[in-house]
Amino acid sequence: MEKLAILWQQSGLAQMELGPAAMMTVGLILLYLAIRRGFEPLLLVPIGIGTVLVNLPGAGFEAAPVYDAQGHLQSPGGLLYYIYEAGIATGLFPLIIFMGVGAMTDFGPMLANPKTLLLGAAAQVGIFTTLLGAVAMGEFGWLDFSLRDAASIGIIGGADGPTAIFVTSILSPELLGAVAVAAYSYMALVPIIQPPIMRLLTTPAERRIVMQQLRPVSRVEKILFPLLLLVLVGLLLPSAAPLLGMFCFGNLMRECGVVNRLSDTTQNALINVVTIFLGLGVGSKMSAEKFLNWETLGILGLGAFAFCLGTAAGVLMAKLMNRLSATPINPLIGSAGVSAVPMAARVSNKLGLEADPHNFLLMHAMGPNVAGVIGSAVAAGVMLAMIG
């Protein structure tokens, strides 16, 4: 009968505790949000499954390999252990994703109207005020946040998944699960979070502002821009170079027109494979002790706060620029500065059409949208330079 005992002791039921059970529920909720509610499914489906797998009692998905004294492998590690150590602890996966994002990004609209880069800068206010909020909570002892934690939480406001994962995996890995989940969830909630703020801060007249037709951008400009950005980053903020360097590499492959087969693979097979494993790896950090605590609630709250602030800052910056410059800017495109490509730009377009059915803002909003990606990568670089 002791065989039955063995089987029973090894069963999940026998080893089940409250924490893992709750986390499996969290994983299933993430899957529900991804599949039914369409929350960033490409990331939240793998993250959700990873959460369930890593919390299956006794399944050993995050077990480290065991070696004997001679260094021979005695028992192999778990799948999620290898994925996390090889792809996330090293930073490889976020960087490869960023390369793919670069290969999918068209800088044309931004190049046609470079001033919109400033909207991408303004929207990063969300990052740093949130950081301040987090350190305040830490200082007052409400929650246990260090400066490194606070930076990781602030970067949620960047509305850029790979950037958030890259920074957090370096500064405070134990927050990776909560930060990634918050970042992707709020990116999915952009169509709900942003409109009220945008309406609040703009007058109907402002929302009807028609912008100048964007000039065509030549291929040469599109090829030279990533190189320009790369050199500028290298000279001014090398700590942002890993993220923006790969981003520029991907974009150069896209635009140069002579390596289309590499560009295609980067945008498809490669980014898809890495997305699957990135999601699983992030999920592997969704353990009860790391996720089921007040800090997570604080992170979710502060993340929402960051998104709202970034949205507002972008809109207000647009209004300010309207004051200072002759060429009109519809403030609705300011909110796209938080990146969350391309949702935020679509939101700007939607509200624009509500105000004037003939006023299409999508292309105009793509400028600040991609600028926001650069902006949050720069913000990440500053944090890594000053804290990391």
Binding site: L111, L118, A121, L131, L132, V220, I374, G381
Partner: protein, 80 residues
């Protein structure tokens, strides 16, 4: 960074220098891009590029169109 300061103070510093860097960097980028575009239009003028070709070749819409035409043709025959 100097650990003597309070967490708040460090956060404030980070915010000031962070936002500062972001704005300085992107402002420089605005200038650089403007110069770049000017330089390109001045020295490397180019016909505007066609939009990149679609990646997978799908069956062209014309098929549906074709089918319609045929149908018409057949009908005309029938109705004769």
């Amino acid at each position: 960074m100097a650990n003597g300061e309070s967490l708040i103070a460090q956060g404030v510093d980070l915010m000031i220098y962070g936002m500062g860097t972001v704005f300085v960097f992107l402002t420089l980028l605005v200038l650089a891009v403007t110069l770049l575009s000017a330089a390109v239009r001045r020295w490397l003028p180019e016909p505007v590029p066609a939009p990149p070709a679609p990646r997978q070749v799908d069956t062209p819409p014309v098929d549906a169109h074709l089918r319609a035409i045929i149908q018409a043709a057949i009908d005309q025959h029938r109705n004769r």
